[in-house]
Symmetry: D2
Subunit: 337 residues, 4 copies
């Protein structure tokens, strides 16, 4: 059995319906031996029993430095969540040449689609128009379009240009938008070559007619979009909060949106589930969705697809191609819920 | 004054705010002499007084064959509505080499944006999600996304592939959709070269996950999407009625949408304004907008831009480039409201 | 037989191998009755015998106004050459609603490919490099690339932006070129929307690193690129003469190219065949091709494809989609060889 | 001086004109202290004297494991050649979190342009056409295009889909080619998503009308395109040898090309410089260039640009974005000249 790869699934909070469907089970069975644990993180005794033989871990099993000593065959950790936890010694994995990969890119297309759809819905006033029609107060044509504006040729701002920004950009390209992007981790030349205009944070906030907040939260940037920054947002801009809520002062954000300062779609919250009695549930005109931007069936299909593709590559001794490599420093800093 | 071009604006129901803004007035003044009439169609005596000298008519002034005899300098009729009326002898204009042009392409980008935005809103359930959140019944992540699906890689159907289809296609391209298009006026080879798959009407109806009804109404196709055809629409498809309501059996359409047979966004109605007491106003889940898809400020700016561009071309003796040429047979057949 | 369409092929100088291949013959036979004449223009008696019944003429049969009187069923003239002759009363055809169409667009892709290939060959010095290698004087790598430059990010100039320019533009797009275009028939707004920068003739001549001469010759623009204009071409630019030779002072052009003022590829000549003893045959470094840019098998396949597609459309009473409509004024002015 | 970064340039065979131009010197001076050595690999005593303080090495300085012990501040090795040498312990660098980056992507656009230009030149017969014209034996139009064919809609084959393939693919996209790609290191799903059709080696060889040999040479694939494989190439295909000569049986390749079995452009040789008396210099019709595809001024500008961009990123503690990361296994296997 030494030659048969051992694949260990410990992907909680992911479920088998998300990452271990029958096609995945069959594909893994062709590659080697599979042990799986769902419903919780695998208990230590199970983990320890597998470490000596495991080749691939799917999940975010705790791997401090000493566990790597006990896992001489470990080739890769495939994290099928969208973010990192601090329970892996990323530097040690890196030192040992163990691939540490994340499925974060899998969610990005669905989030980008959400962002685009909500941006158009806000700018064109779909929700209000439907309400007016049902109440018998609709106005037709240009008379009803007094506050409508278009994505075509608009100035668009991205705060953050990681997976989400890179997935959203091509969807905007046919609209001929001018995209201003701010990302402190990326060089101006790189942003240029990506086809966006590198811009200061204040520049993006103040100039964007459509603002997409796409930044992941780290230990360094929580709440960096405070009230002072949010007040720089252009009057009547359409703002989509598409990444993690912790990057904004959430109360200030909803306060400004609710007062009509700008239009907003919100998919993420500091606390989920949101308390039943949270007053902000009733703020008019904000478009709320309960963390629905990324986690849909199509995204999980993408996770399974890229996971199996890279699992096969790694077991063949080839480089992984689809999942995102952990940068040790960034992975350590990333904040998970 | 024989050498100074005479430009006559008679564009009702378009208003001066739509097609005769200060910049247009200034631009026309540089080109020649302008006479304008707003608020109604110009009275016959005004029209007749101008015919001997007029070079350009902007509008849909009645032009039977004999009026062309009295308008020896007439070079072009620029229709700034989106459709044709039967009050012009299109064949006679064509015979005399008079350009008869329409601003129909100007509306298409805004309608395409509406179509895309509503398609995503329907597939991703934005309206329902917002309602659930406000009522405190939201479910998070995959639990709330049970009925959500994506445009990425989807089968899309176009009924009609004119200006609207050609404007919508590039917006779908980044989603990697397979677009099946039905248009009885277009050859299969042409559709192939446009990047869509020529398909029978029944094929489009039954296979499309996203169905865009984009056909203009003519004297030959009113109501061609009858109940029998509508019942062929794939279960739970997202359907956007983006062109003229008369192409469908409207009651059957709303009946099927309201019963959950498919998801729908409706922007056009057989009668506008819709009667206050129309029961269909309350059909749940259909996304209504009161003819807002095309007629927004950005579209009128486009109309003015293409109108002035082609006016200058024509007065220079160059071919028009931006507005759409009337095909005499199709113009005669087009049904206007 | 009144109901069976009559299709008359009189396409000299096109041959049956070019436009009447077996597949075309079969397709036409399905549409109606075919009469064809090759090797010369059809004699008058044949033409006259067919006029009463003919529906479609493929070719450039002389059609003065009175012949139209004798051709009551004529629906379309499909010109399968790339240019117009003055033997048709284009205005009369237009008046009668007879489609007059040209296959000019069919040649454009092949010419665009020629232009791109020669541009790279000139800028990268392929011909000289091969000669040096064969003579044993090659230099390797950067040492041999002293005069090489790249299309990537280069300033490109188009003189003329008709079918050829529109076919070449997409081939340049992946190179990130800035394309400056001059075309006196087109408005600045139109050129903007096409994605090129409208520029004066002098601006294009002086700024382009790669210059594509793509203008068709008319009665108004023969020799407009005279020596004075040609001397404005940027030092060491790569110039491709891809359209008709008559638009340039040919001797001046070759004189400047031969003296190293700019690099050049030449596919067209004032007189073809070029006299055997023409001294310019030996001018070093100019890349000569004997009118090979457009007329290749793939282009004739395209002609046949668009001709049959539009023939079917027209016989169905639908608008043609593929061939280029004659603008009566431009067709009358076009100069043919 | 402990805080001032130390940047060490030891990039032989690159010269200062290639990688240490005045703008680079100025940019480096803003970042820290620079020591440079050109004309040869830096002597050991110089290297050893710098190891304790060096932050960035630009070049391919020998770095066995023990040297890393003596370089506690080393953050990155920036290799400004296009390939790897075995004088670095890549695994040890990886273990220590030292970025090992290559400028290989910088050459790819120039090589892709060369490949495209030569492919068109071969298919369209530019060289032969010019010779015929000069000798007075040219034939015009279709008569001279008997053996010409087009890239439009053609089946194209890539052997290798690394940097070169990824740079060439977008240049082919406007031609509507079907691209079949073979690369043993890449998964089928990955190739699918890149827009190419994963194909066996034999499939690519036999089906491609245009064949691009783009594979880098490793210790495992030298000469893998032996005579038997080369004989599978489609009759009269256009073949561009754009990567390293060692991947083919060079004599067999030229033998087949010279006998007219296929058309060929060759830029690389097993031995450079090629011996003066090499008989193959005179093989007719093959298009030779002396290793000119990549190493041109524009490519070195790209190298400098990506090198400085990533140097700044790394010194800021941010991830590099532009240069290519060494995969330890592949870097160790790569064969250098």
């Amino acid at each position: 059995m030494a030659n048969t790869p051992l694949i260990f699934f410990d992907p909680f909070p992911r479920t088998d319906a998300m990452v271990f469907t029958p096609d995945v089970q069959a594909a893994c069975a062709e590659l080697g031996r599979v042990v799986s644990h769902f419903g919780s993180r695998a208990p230590d005794d199970l983990v320890e029993s597998l470490l000596p033989d495991v080749d691939i871990i799917v999940g975010q099993t705790a791997m401090p430095a000493e566990r790597f000593d006990r896992a001489p065959n470990l080739k890769a950790i495939l994290n099928v969540k969208a973010n990192w936890e601090p329970n892996i010694d990323y530097g040690e994995a890196h030192r040992r040449g163990i691939h540490v990969l994340s499925a974060a890119p899998a969610m990005a297309p669905a989030v980008a689609e959400y962002c685009l759809g909500q941006a158009i819905a806000l700018a064109r006033g779909f929700a209000a128009s439907d309400r007016l029609f049902r109440s018998g107060h609709e106005r037709y044509g240009i008379a009803g379009n007094g506050t409508a504006y278009s994505l075509f040729g608009a100035d668009v701002g991205f705060i953050g240009f990681g997976n989400l920004g890179r997935a959203l950009l091509p969807l905007l390209q046919p609209f001929g938008c001018r995209v201003l992007a701010h990302d402190p981790l990326l060089s101006d030349r790189y942003l240029d070559l990506q086809g966006v205009q590198p811009t200061s944070l204040d520049g993006v906030l103040s100039k964007a007619r459509f603002l997409f907040i796409l930044a992941g939260v780290t230990s360094e940037n929580e709440g960096f979009l405070d009230r002072k920054k949010l007040e720089m947002i252009a009057e009547d801009a359409s703002v989509v909060l598409g990444s993690r809520a912790e990057v904004v002062d959430f109360d200030a954000f909803l306060n400004l949106a609710g007062s009509g300062r700008f239009r907003a779609a919100v998919d993420v919250f500091p606390e989920e589930p949101v308390p039943q009695d949270a007053a902000f549930r009733q703020i008019p005109d904000v478009q709320f969705t309960a963390h629905l931007a990324g986690g849909m069936n199509a995204s999980y299909a993408r996770i399974r697809d890229m996971m199996m593709d890279d699992m096969r590559q790694i077991l063949k001794g080839h480089p992984p191609l689809r999942m995102q490599k952990a940068e040790p420093r960034q992975a350590a800093m990333a904040r998970s819920r």
